[in-house]
Point group: C2
Chain length 251, copies 2
């Protein structure tokens, strides 16, 4: 995970724990791979190994969905694929808009994972007039002036923000006002949204810093010297005011 985790605090939606929901896509991916190899059934042990989790955890996760297994045999792959897909809401079509077509936005637009599994890129939106009309991943980029109309015309409820951090909150506000209730945020900003709107963030910078922490732990542990100076040197090299950086997010 990426990931960060900023959405519903501790609300368990209809008995399915949040931690379980976060693992269902993992199971689904492993099951889809088995399905493509025409494997009919799979045991919790095998599937758990494929998904990289504990088998007891997997069984408990599935128990929240219902009793879909057969003791002594395992789980029917096709049936489970369908059940999980349905539970995750992937049997319906989810139109998605991407706002901010820089390097990252373009990469996501080209991302094959959108097309499969019910997600469909309904529109690409950018504030730069020079971008409007250009084709990215076979889709014409539209200007952000038309954001509200695009959202309502397409019935979009999921938005992806890949803008510079300085404008992320404004974009978010407009998306929410237009009817979007789920946001995937790639900009390094804390978004504030009204109740009922889910935000998940993906933050490369944070992931790297967490890795660096553990890396330092692994490498260090012998030379615990170098006391802290009283006047720290403020290590960011002052690369201009925040909020007007290229297209992908700065630290």
């Amino acid at each position: 995970m990426a990931t960060g985790r900023t959405h519903r605090p501790a609300t368990r939606s209809r008995g399915i724990p949040e931690a379980t929901v976060a693992r269902l896509p993992l199971y689904l991916r492993a099951l889809t791979a088995l399905s493509e190899r025409s494997v009919p059934t799979v045991s919790s042990e095998e599937l758990a190994a494929a998904a990289g989790v504990n088998s007891a955890k997997l069984r408990k996760d599935f128990s929240y969905l219902g009793s879909y297994g057969t003791r002594g045999v395992g789980y029917d792959v096709e049936y489970l694929v369908y059940q999980i897909s349905r539970e995750l809401g992937l049997t319906q079509d989810w139109p998605v808009v991407i706002v901010g077509i820089g390097n990252l936005g373009a990469a996501l637009a080209n991302y094959g994972g959108f097309a499969s599994r019910g997600f469909r890129v309904a529109a690409l939106i950018d504030a730069d007039p020079a971008m409007a009309g250009r084709q990215v991943a076979g889709i014409a980029v539209q200007h952000s002036d038309d954001l509200e109309k695009i959202i309502s015309d397409n019935g979009v409820s999921i938005g992806v923000i890949t803008t510079p951090p300085g404008v992320a909150q404004q974009v978010c506000d407009r998306l929410v006002a237009a009817g979007v209730t789920s946001i995937l945020n790639f900009a390094p900003t804390v978004l504030s949204v009204p109740d009922g709107v889910d935000v998940r963030k993906v933050d490369l910078s944070i992931e790297l810093q967490i890795l660096a922490f553990h890396e330092q732990r692994k490498a260090g542990e012998e030379h615990e010297g170098t006391a802290a100076p009283a006047a720290p040197h403020h290590d960011s090299d002052e690369q201009g005011p925040d909020g007007d950086v290229p297209a992908v997010m700065p630290a």
Copy 2:
């Protein structure tokens, strides 16, 4: 968040809880913004609001680092920036390699967040001979034949994998064998690594599916009809064998 979270199971490194480590980058970002506005001190309440967390949680987090605040006043911004940076290991230089220079790899190479905060893109690596020598973000792409040499010559310990999922495990194995001990994985694959190697994954597809789950919950709840058919229709539209997709990850 993002991300998913697959690294150290429950090991608390020297008393700092994993959950706290994951929030330190958030605090650091908020503090850096304050620092740029020359704000001298900040209270736990203000800083918590800026970072989007509970103030009690923030105070407890900081208490693991030591007593850096002043009662009745708050925290010294500059001092705290330094302390957190040091704790996260950001006062040293971390050379990073990116393997797989497709759309996403290129986007990350251009990502400003690398340059600041101690991270430096030491090399870009791709398996395609046609890519070798081309400049991406001002850095020459090198062929993956030289992966081991690049790692050891630059003393790289952090690797970023943005390859198609079919080759992610091989790339991972080679990175680890060459000395990399922290991996940020963007490929939708479960990587298996030996003990002592940290893996964090960022998975767009999983994040979207989690959003879809909650979105379905919000929208539904009234028409709980449409019983499950016995023979599910296997909704992925069979877009070819897994493992040979463009450059960014499929579902």
